[in-house]
Amino acid sequence: MDEFSLYVLDITMNSVRAGADTILISLMEEGDWLTFSVTDNGCGMSKEQVEKLSNPFFTTRKTRKVGLGVPFLTMLAEMTGGGVKITSVPEKNEDGSENPDHGTVIRGTFGRNHIDFIPLGDMVETVKTLIQGAPNVNFSYVHTFPGGNVELHCAELRAMLGEEISLAEPEILSWIGGYLQEQYEGEA
């Protein structure tokens, strides 16, 4: 993958598939570092599952035997002098009781000026793609960089639009794209 925005798309899809209804995507560029995190309230993972994540031959899906999303992200982080950390709370405690605070946080740091880092790419397209694929999820997107920040909160949009209108409607997606684009252009 040659754009960072594609990594963001791929990693955030994991949260969607974990059944999360609230997902925060945060990008913070400061000094030499980019910190990227995704925080979700999905089904979470056990300690053993989290440990296995860095192994490309671990995946829960049935259609193929390799899972490269997290290993790709980890490789890019480590190549640029950073790293990836995952913390997760599974839905069920060890004694079988429900844990209401379940969910996963994945956080990576990347040397944004490192020669092996890649362009950020089209973040607007990534956010639109996520909303198109999971219009019922409350995504929050916050990108902070020197001199400005760009934000989108799906819960606010939904509060305005009501439940009848899906955020995946082409007109709404196109408005979201323009809204983000103008924030980026205004801050640049």
Partner: protein
């Protein structure tokens, strides 16, 4: 600046449209594979081309574009499947945004499968 007022205006316009749309059994469903394999192979612009192309062609009432995970043929990504009632599923492989335009024109609009891009035409 794109304002929230503008969003409310879109809402007002859409209220009628949403009510009109209803299932008549002839819907076409376009499904784009968006797992790691799809994304790495370029599925994001393909999905976008279908979403925008279907709307631009005025087909949005009858055609839905959705995403799915990995279907197990990663070497052929980006993979796009077309589902239509009473018709065999069509699987397009190694798609691009340009090919997507062609599929909308010929297949979705015109009803003719673009067999050059189907999995049957790909060298296995």
């Amino acid at each position: 600046m794109k304002s929230l007022e503008e969003l409310m205006a879109i809402k007002a316009k859409m209220a009628d449209k949403v009510a009109v749309r209803q299932a008549d059994g002839n819907e076409i469903r376009i499904v784009v594979g968006m797992a790691t394999c799809g994304i790495a192979a370029g599925a994001r612009p393909v999905l976008n081309a279908f979403v925008e192309g279907v709307t631009a062609a005025g087909l949005a009432e009858n055609v839905t574009v959705t995403q799915t995970g990995c279907i197990g043929i990663c070497q052929y990504e980006p993979v796009v499947e077309i589902y239509q009632k009473d018709k065999e599923k069509v699987t397009y492989v190694k798609m691009t945004a340009e090919k997507a335009q062609e599929v909308i024109e010929k297949h979705i609009k015109g009803g003719a499968v673009v067999s050059d891009y189907t999995i049957g035409a790909a060298k296995i």
